[in-house]
Symmetry: C2
Subunit: 139 residues, 2 copies
Amino acid sequence: MCYSTRVIPFRLDFEPGIPIYEQVVYAAKRAVVSGQMRPGDTFPSVRELSRELKINPNTAHKVVLHLVSEGILEVRPGIGTLVAAPRVSAASERSRLVGRELEQLVVEALRLGLRLDDVAEALSDHWQKLNGASPRSKP
Amino acid sequence: MCYSTRVIPFRLDFEPGIPIYEQVVYAAKRAVVSGQMRPGDTFPSVRELSRELKINPNTAHKVVLHLVSEGILEVRPGIGTLVAAPRVSAASERSRLVGRELEQLVVEALRLGLRLDDVAEALSDHWQKLNGASPRSKP
DNA sequence: CACGTGTACTATAGCACATAGTACAGCGGT
DNA sequence: ACCGCTGTACTATGTGCTATAGTACACGTG
């Protein structure tokens, strides 16, 4: 009998103070938006996540539930979980990000004495790194 | 005898799911970086915060402790709490923001199908709104 | 049938949050 | 010295969340 223990496509060093399931959700999200995992790819099963990340299966299942509720994964009971095709996001979610979440980041940046140029440049760097060499937006 | 119940310089509608003290910390931070409260200004006392926001004095004190630990307030026992002069932030804090925090925002933006231009523009808008008409960084 | 998969459920422990109190020290004004 | 504000320390309680440890069942495929 041979085992096929596929390495999961993200690594995590859990940091204290943030729920474990949140960190895994984020790592999975990041793997998807960066193209490391693509629509149609199989997502690690609950038991596989549990084993590889050394977390409880219930916690692993919680991760999957979150990702499903965000439309990132879709479930096939008895078969597995797949990375879903991107779907059109809700306008409310988009405006929450460009509103509250961006404002919070700017408040923090101003508090730290950062400059807009520095933050804008870092934004662009992250964008290119995650979205590939050709960002979706073109000048 | 007349009361001088000074209105605190921020309003809050508490939203569920986020600790009350975190929301107040953020509102205070925002008031400071936007210039609504300036270095040397008196910050509302623990009892005043408690009364105005209808939160427990221990919770109000927790807010003050956080703001003090971030260098935003300084304490005068028996006198009150003042908005501190901005101090040079730690390089580790700055790189955490332009690193992890910005990356998380970009992951979220990509997931929602936002475009870099839209996010960059919203960044700039928030910056100008909070930092005044003349941002610290100049093109 | 076996082996993978997802899912539901109970139970327990620990931690964070928020509250409700009491009490004390410091400071400034009277 | 007293009063009224201030900050601060402490105990206690309740709630909710997180994470774990289990068990069990349904689904799909080979």
